[in-house]
Structure formats: structure tokens, C-alpha cells
Amino acid sequence: MLDITPVSKNTTNTANKRIMYQAFIDILPLAMAVIPWGILCGSLAIKVGLSAVQAQLMSLLVFAGAAQLASLTLIGAVGALSSIFSSTFVISSRHLLYSAVFREHVRESSMLTRCCMAFFLTDEMFAVSCAYLEKNKSFSHLYAISAGVVFYLIWNVATFIGIVAGQFIPNIENLGLEFAIAATFIAIVIPSIKRFSTLMSVLASGISVCVLSITGIEHALIIATCIGMATGFLTASKDKSNG
């Protein structure tokens, strides 16, 4: 009897370690791809006049690369708080979908688990957790949170490198680091186009963001996203006939 508890504990520990290791291996490639982006965020924050501590705090607390980058551009252009908040909301609104998808697996968990799941929820964590769910037919909070923590650490180290490098390397924002973002998003979006309506929403969003940006209309990102969503929604009825 005495042996049973330690043995089962050990087995659980080994199983848990294996899940954490798997999460680390799965998220690592995506975390590597985010490094140039983190560097850009850190250096741009210094350039628009934030202190090193403020720049790091942004990555530590907000932890949303796209929203951070958009807000830094707005700070640089002396944008109002309201436009920073509205762009943050629009960019983050895709996380509403992610949290809705995870809802059934997470709603009964403890407050702490739910808070951790929410805080560490990113595009990348969502992608690997969905793949894990599909493969193992069961959702693992440990897996999702481990992947999220690894991503968080690498994101913050990259921001830190950007903060330091931004002070020593002039024009670091002209190196084209933002191309890494474009490449990552392309690699996420293009394979996700499996329906006719998704294709339409991507085309509508892409074309309208170009037209709006060239004509210099404010909130191009927000308007283009809404146009893309509306187009997808309205063409959804065509999906069946087009396979």
C-alpha cells in the first residue's frame, strides 16, 4: 500500500514531463520565427520614445505582437489613446474566436488555470494546441500552457535583444525585420484557406487594405478587417456549391 502513491506519482510525473517536452518541441519552430518580430518591437519602442523598462513591460504584460507593433506605430505618429485601444481591440478580436473554440475544454477548470490559458493564448499556441487535440483526441491544459510559457519567454527575450540592439544599431527598423511577420502570417493564412468564402474574405481584406493605405485613410486595418469578415460571411452560402 505504501508504495502505491509514490509509484503512481512518479508515473504521472513522467507523463507530465513528456507532455511538457512535446509542447516545447512543437512550439519551438514558431517561437524561433517570432524572434525578428520581437527584436523589431523592442527597438521600435525605444525609437518612438519609450524607456527600456516601458518597452519590456509592454511585452511582459500585453504579450500580443501584432497589437504592440500597431500601437507603437500609432505612438510614433502621435496617435490618440482611443485609436490605440481600438486597433488593439480589432487586432485582438481574433482571440475571441480562439477562446470560444477552447471554451468546452476550459470552462470547468480552476480560475488559475483559466487565467493562465487566457494569458498565454496566442495564434501560435492555438495552432499547436489544436494540432495536439486532433492527434491525441484529448485536450491538455498542461500542454497548452507549457507551449504558451515557452513562447512567452522567447518573445520577451527577443524584445530585450531589440531594446539593447536598438540603442546601438542605428536604423535597425530599416533592416526589413517586419518581413518575418509577413512570412509567418502568410504561412498561417494560406494553408487555412479551405473554403471559397475564406478565400474571398482574404482577397477582400487584402485588396481593401492596399486601397485604403494608398489613399491615406485612417484605420485602414480595422476597416479592411471588417470588409474581409463581411465578405466571408456573405459568400458563405456559396461554399457548398463550390465544395
Binding site: 509592454m58 490605440i84 478580436s93 477552447f102 509577413a182 493564412v189 460571411f233
Partner: protein, 106 residues
Amino acid sequence: MDNFGLMLLGMSCITFACRFLFFCKKLPFELGEKTTLALSYTAPSVLTAMWVPIVFLSYQHIEQSFFVSPFLIAGLLSIILSLKLKSTLLIVVISIMVFITLQLLY
């Protein structure tokens, strides 16, 4: 920036709220079929609205003509690779290498 504290607090709350909302035990509303459908286009739309300007409009900042911009060429390459390859990392790494090579060439 004077309002940095406020901005940081606001942004942190907005991002956390979007991620946490559907983790609440009880919601005052249920997600309808139409809302779920509309939400499913959020990720592709917003991500596209972010990558398209980098690929197609960056040539304006680097004083190069549209067709030879490394952003455009490497961007189109990553679209093609995304259709062919399954590994995200491979797509990103190859595109970035091509991008860097093109930048060094000019």
C-alpha cells in the same frame, strides 16, 4: 509618452479580456451560429490586413521600384511555398533567407 501607464493598462486589459471572455463559467449570452460563422473569418482577415501592406507597399519606404522590391519577391515566394510545404518553420526560414539575400544583392 505621458499616458504610458494608462495605455499599458488599457492594452493589457483589452488583450486579456478578448482571450478570457469565453473562459467565463457563465456567459450572459450564447454564441449564435451566425456569430460563430462571422468570427471564423476574423483570423484570416486581420492577419491578411497586416501582411499584405508589408509585401505590397513596403517598396515605398525603401525607394525601390515595385517589381524588384525584396518584400514583393520574397513575399510571393512564401505564398507559393505555403501552398507546397507543410512545415511553417521551413516556409518562414526559406523566405527570410531569400529576403536577406535579395537585400544584400541590391
